[in-house]
Symmetry: C2
Amino acid sequence: MTEARGPAKKAPMREVLAEAAFQLFLERGFEQTTVDDIVARAGVGRRSFFRYFPSKEDAVFPDHERCLADMTAFLDAAGDEEPVGAVCDAARLVLRMYTANPEFSVQRYRLTQEVPGLRTYELSVVRRYERTMAGYLRGRYSEAEDGSLRAEVIAASVVAAHNNALRSWLRSGGEGDADAAVDHALGLVRDGWGKSGETAPDADEEVVVMVVSKRAPMWRVVQRVESALGED
Amino acid sequence: MTEARGPAKKAPMREVLAEAAFQLFLERGFEQTTVDDIVARAGVGRRSFFRYFPSKEDAVFPDHERCLADMTAFLDAAGDEEPVGAVCDAARLVLRMYTANPEFSVQRYRLTQEVPGLRTYELSVVRRYERTMAGYLRGRYSEAEDGSLRAEVIAASVVAAHNNALRSWLRSGGEGDADAAVDHALGLVRDGWGKSGETAPDADEEVVVMVVSKRAPMWRVVQRVESALGED
């Protein structure tokens, strides 16, 4: 959402460059397109490009920097929220960036699959999201046993779940309900880790996680609870 | 373990090159060292280098390709083993590669921290391990609900846990028991996901996961079990 700055609504230079770059990448291929081609198409000087994008790769993913900043701000403001829920909500910011423009996201996904350099770039970006989430969780779990370990495992789980759902949606050509798919995937992580690190780090506070079939008879369940609590 | 091939035990060319490269990287820095410098130090021709390593980065991590092949073979042979346990064991193959030569691993860790190109390379390698594990789990969970999602989340968790422990060990300069640290970290993942995808995908087979404080009184526990089972 950009506000009009005067009577002639003009797209910001950054967007103009990113759009010119992307069109050329689709037409000619990523490797075959030079920065000179891009600035010629956009009708600006060569130095303008590097003012906005450190590299050609960055022009393919023009919104990740802003999204990373949004995520950091979001988590800074998360306060006392349940931490796993907070990072799941943070992951949804990334999804929103993709679903804001399905056609572009799907085309870019296909382009990325074909260009190893773009896949590597994307890996680095994904890692930065993961580190942002892990940093937040590490702060929230600073008093918990294995806090840093839990933080990193949960951040990796959230990223993997989000990306599994996002990738299915991109592969399908942007069909279906991406929000519902990501909610479902993140639900799996919340079920697994939702209570992680919530308890105080006392040895006394040790928890028991039980998995019980709904078909198990009650006596079996009680027996397992007792045995897990060491009261048998 | 290399077998002697004759009376004069000679290190294989690949090792000689990797060692020459690494010494130069430490002495002059990674960026400042050229392939010409490396082959001059090793006393071989320029084309020999590229016969063994596609790039300078590959010479810094000469054992990952073999370790990836070992992991694939290990998981192919895993058969009916409990799947989360199998990928945890697969992750230990990577640890073993690092702990086989602590001094080299620690020096390389420090070098990698200083060179962005090496960090990117490492991210790609880590991703390949993760995909190898996820591929195995996907096969094992092919009948389970959300099998592909579970496979990717668990693979990401295992990698994150392993790397958390490995990184601590590398940061400490290779002090302490890396095996015990990785076992502990992987234990967290097994506790969280160990039963994942084991049950059949019947709706009837739905499971309940409960987290209960060890200090909770038994009546509270039973109440929660009953309420979770919808028998209240």
